[in-house]
């Protein structure tokens, strides 16, 4: 029983990071109708940024959060301007392929520059913290990751749902032609989506360095999880992605308790069930 409770808590904490990763993916999807297959690689680059901030500058991963966020936001902008923005309006195939190509490219780049070795930050500051609440043990890194991810997810949701600029982004997503008549340049809004998504994945990457290792393939499992989360929350829904992230985290934690080899398989099966049975997702309406 206490094992189960522990898994649920662990799942909830990592689920917050899933939510943060998924928010950027669902933002790009909702506004541009593009699936960013390179999303996990943006997380991976965020992790490397945080790692090198530690190994070169001696910064704790907590301090490198802004650095990683800004670097990956720039990377996202570059990906949009250099590649994705150039295939807008082309066939769905072209759009799928271009982000897929970016994925392969970024992973290859990381492997070429930094070799396939995993990089870990030993003993980050958060590792010194630890709480015991009844039978449940909560580690500092997990709490830092979860709190940071929730704050960042909330910030993205606030930006999109409560600010004028966020409203402009949504308008460009809903009807680019009408939005441009109102003086909104849809292409700028699309670029902004990539900046926000980059910011979110960069922050997620830096947070993850509190207890994960960076490697060229580190992003793969996160992007697969993010697909599941985005589908579960309803494609394009930010609030849905945030809630679904927590739920998928818990589900992963519980499955991991009984069948650790099958957590990813279970998550992917969940994706299939959701898109086939309830394609509008958890919160969506038909």
């Amino acid at each position: 029983m206490s094992d189960l409770l522990q898994s649920v808590v662990n799942g909830l904490l990592i689920g917050a990071v899933f939510a943060l990763v998924a928010v950027g993916l669902t933002l790009i999807y909702g506004v541009m109708d593009v699936i960013n297959f390179a999303h996990g690689e943006m997380v991976m680059l965020g992790m490397y940024t945080s790692f090198f901030a530690w190994s070169v500058l001696g910064l704790d991963p907590l301090w490198s959060i802004p650095l990683a966020g800004v670097s990956i936001a720039l990377t996202g902008l570059l990906m949009y301007v250099g590649a994705v923005g150039r295939v807008l309006g082309r066939s769905p195939l072209a759009q799928v392929i271009v982000t897929f190509g970016l994925q392969v490219f970024l992973r290859g780049l990381a492997q070429f520059l930094w070799t396939p070795n995993t990089r870990t930050i030993p003993r980050p500051w958060a590792a010194g913290l630890r709480w015991e609440i009844g039978p449940v043990i909560i580690g500092g890194p997990q709490v830092i990751m979860a709190v940071g991810a929730l704050l960042a997810t909330g910030a993205v949701a606030y930006f999109m749902n409560r600010t004028r600029l966020g409203g402009a982004v949504r308008a460009a997503g809903e009807d680019p032609a009408a939005a441009s008549l109102m003086g909104i340049d849809p292409r700028k809004m699309y670029a902004l989506c990539w900046v926000v998504a980059g910011l979110a994945t960069g922050v997620a990457g830096a947070l993850l360095m509190n207890s994960y290792s960076a490697s060229p393939t580190a992003g793969v499992s996160f992007v697969l999880m993010a697909f599941v989360v985005v589908a579960f929350g309803g494609f394009g829904s930010i609030t849905g992605a945030a809630l679904a992230g927590l739920l998928v985290g818990v589900a992963q934690g519980v499955v991991g308790l009984y069948a650790p080899s099958y957590t990813l398989a279970a998550a992917l099966a969940l994706y299939l069930v959701v898109v086939l049975v309830r394609p509008q997702g958890l919160l969506g309406t038909r």
Binding site: G30, V31, I35, G89, S91, F227, G284
Partner: protein
């Protein structure tokens, strides 16, 4: 299926990516096959033969992918599942003493069945939903095969080395040419199957579905059925590549037979060479296998690999600048030459058929 989401943009009329192209003429086919047959005679060393064998094998798989992804417009990132079906079925049966020819032949309908079973639910999904679903199915199978006892788990299967003969589909490692010609034979079979499919009514139907599924359904095409037909043939062809591959390397494990990277490479080959073009995947396979071999020699031992980097860059470049792939570039270069030849002997200058006219009329 429309995406009922908070931020969803109503799907705009998209530019059509692929105009209908003529299927290759017999003369093109004969020239290409003759050039392929001459290759191992021109390049006599074993390394070149190895490149050719791999290029043909992956050319088969990518041609199979292209039928579903390029012609029918259903972008699958899970074709490793069918490659693995061919590889695993062949490996297991040959270990049991079966003839490899029979084993490969048996794996084809099995893969077709799998492809139809995956397509049955998943073809209700459109675009990204479908593509991600194919990843999900293939990854689930990958995880199951890696973990469940009975299918070799992470260790995979080795095949016994037996006396070299055509019946055993094993040849001397000193001279790889027999492997090459078997691969070429298999490629011809695969290409012929795709050609026959595309030439018939089904070929027009799947292209109509790709260009506009709603319109295709409106004129009475059974969309689901023709997607399934394309998927089944596509899966069987990809399994053929898998079956031959396992006989060539005599080993299969989950990453080499079912990995996501494998699915990706089929897609990349087709896209690089020219998606929805008959010879595109073959061209893409040759280029990628060649590039991989080149970079492996260059950077061996450093633990770094430049091939992924190069693949990715190529894919992004091609999809931005020339969606028709390398083949489209070649055709553009060839066009002035052909025009001059045509002026000399005015034979084959039939105009491009109007898009989907035969279906919508």
């Amino acid at each position: 299926m429309s995406a009922p989401t908070v931020l969803h943009r109503p799907s705009p009329a998209r530019l059509r990516a692929f105009p209908v192209r003529r299927l290759p003429s017999w003369t093109t086919a004969v020239v290409i096959v003759a050039a392929l047959a001459a290759y191992p005679l021109v390049f006599a060393d074993s390394a070149a033969h190895n490149i050719g064998i791999l290029a043909l094998t992956f050319g088969i798989a990518a041609t199979g992918w292209n039928l579903l992804g390029g012609y029918a417009g259903q972008v699958s990132f899970g074709h490793a599942l069918y490659f693995g079906t061919g590889a695993y079925t062949t490996a297991l049966l040959v270990r049991d003493g079966w003839s490899p020819w029979l084993a490969i032949a048996l794996s084809l309908p099995l893969a077709a069945l799998f492809a139809a079973a995956v397509g049955w639910p998943c073809f209700r999904l459109r675009h990204h939903y479908y593509s991600i679903a194919t990843i999900a199915v293939a990854e689930i199978v990958f995880i199951l095969v890696t973990n469940l006892p009975g299918l070799g788990q992470a260790n995979g299967w080795e095949l016994p080395v037996v006396e070299p003969s055509l019946a055993n589909l094993q040849f001397s490692l000193l001279d790889k040419r027999p492997y090459y010609y078997v691969a070429l034979g298999f490629f011809c079979v695969a290409a012929l199957a795709v050609w026959l499919f595309l030439r018939g009514r089904a070929g027009n139907y799947v292209r109509a579905i790709r260009d506009d599924q709603v319109a295709a359904a409106a004129v009475g095409i059974d969309v689901h059925r023709y997607k399934l037909a394309a998927a089944a043939l596509s899966g069987a062809i990809t399994a053929l590549a898998g079956g031959f591959y396992v006989m060539y390397v005599l080993f299969v494990d989950p990453p080499s037979g079912l990995g996501l990277d494998l699915s990706v490479s089929f897609t990349l080959m087709a896209v690089l060479g020219g998606v929805g073009r008959f010879w595109g995947p073959l061209l893409g396979a040759w280029v990628l296998v060649f590039v991989q071999d080149l970079t492996r020699q260059e950077f061996s031992g450093s633990g770094r690999s430049v091939d992924l980097l190069l693949y990715g860059a190529l894919i992004v470049l091609v999809s931005i600048t020339e969606p028709g792939g390398l083949l489209a570039i070649l055709q553009r270069l060839w066009a002035p030459v052909a025009r001059r030849l045509g002026r000399a002997s005015r034979t084959e200058t039939d105009p491009e058929p109007v898009e989907s006219a035969e279906v919508k009329a």
